[in-house]
């Protein structure tokens, strides 16, 4: 079965600290991987995506993620977080045929303490 696991429901870090949010996936086909962010009372916004090539992809606002085929992971990182990064982060996996095959993790709620 296809699935996405975000093992940490909540993460709290201090402003200026580094961040890693974990994502593991189980997918039978070659995956397309995404990280979305949801700010309070808003929809989801795309942070970054991975289709192929360099396993480290850069996104908006200093975020990056690294794809690991051997570990079935796509962890999100940021070198120095800001209080405005407080939000819920969703990892998602899709297939190269698009349409229905989008699977989301349950999300990680990030709180950045000033």
């Amino acid at each position: 079965a296809q699935s996405v696991t975000q093992p940490d429901a909540r993460v709290t870090v201090s402003e200026g600290a580094s961040l890693q949010l974990r994502c593991k996936y189980s997918y039978s086909a070659t995956p397309y991987l995404f990280w979305y962010v949801q700010y309070p009372r808003q929809g989801l916004q795309l942070l970054l995506k991975y289709y192929s090539g360099d396993p480290v992809v850069q996104g908006v606002n200093g975020f990056e993620a690294e794809f690991s085929k051997s570990n079935s992971s796509f962890h999100l990182r940021k070198a120095s977080v800001h209080w405005s990064d407080s939000a819920v982060y969703f990892c998602a996996v899709s297939h190269n045929t698009g349409y229905q095959n989008f699977y989301f993790g349950k999300g990680t709620s990030l709180t950045v303490i000033p």
Partner: protein, 114 residues
């Protein structure tokens, strides 16, 4: 750029009531989606539509109907609202072309059933 508009932003209904949520997009995207977001459960697909007048059921379609009469709009109907139900319904759209499978989301409709 484009935008996805969802109406209403807040929807309060009574048990057993039929409720309709609306979504409009001006991306000119072919495919549109309805997701249900419950706290701690991530996003679950209710319905999607590949093109106008097309409807496909997702994992959570029971209790819902959908309608795609125009390319730019996609409606979702809760056929019989359940008491104490609270959730956010997110509409999304995407265009399926080479290396561009991400979904774009609206701000959501928050449903409360009394």
């Amino acid at each position: 750029g484009g935008i996805i508009t969802q109406t209403p932003k807040f929807l309060i209904g009574q048990e057993g009531q039929k409720l309709t949520l609306k979504c409009q997009q001006n991306f000119n995207h072919d495919t549109m989606y309805w997701y249900r977001q419950d706290s701690g459960k991530g996003l679950r697909l209710i319905y999607y539509s590949i093109t106008e007048n097309d409807l496909q059921k997702g994992d959570l379609s029971e209790g819902y109907d959908a309608s795609r009469e125009k390319k730019s709009s996609f409606s979702l109907t809760v056929t019989s609202a359940q008491k104490n139900e609270m959730a956010v319904f997110l509409c999304a759209s995407s265009i399926i072309q080479a290396l561009s499978y991400e979904q774009y989301f609206g701000p959501g409709t928050r449903l409360t059933v009394l």
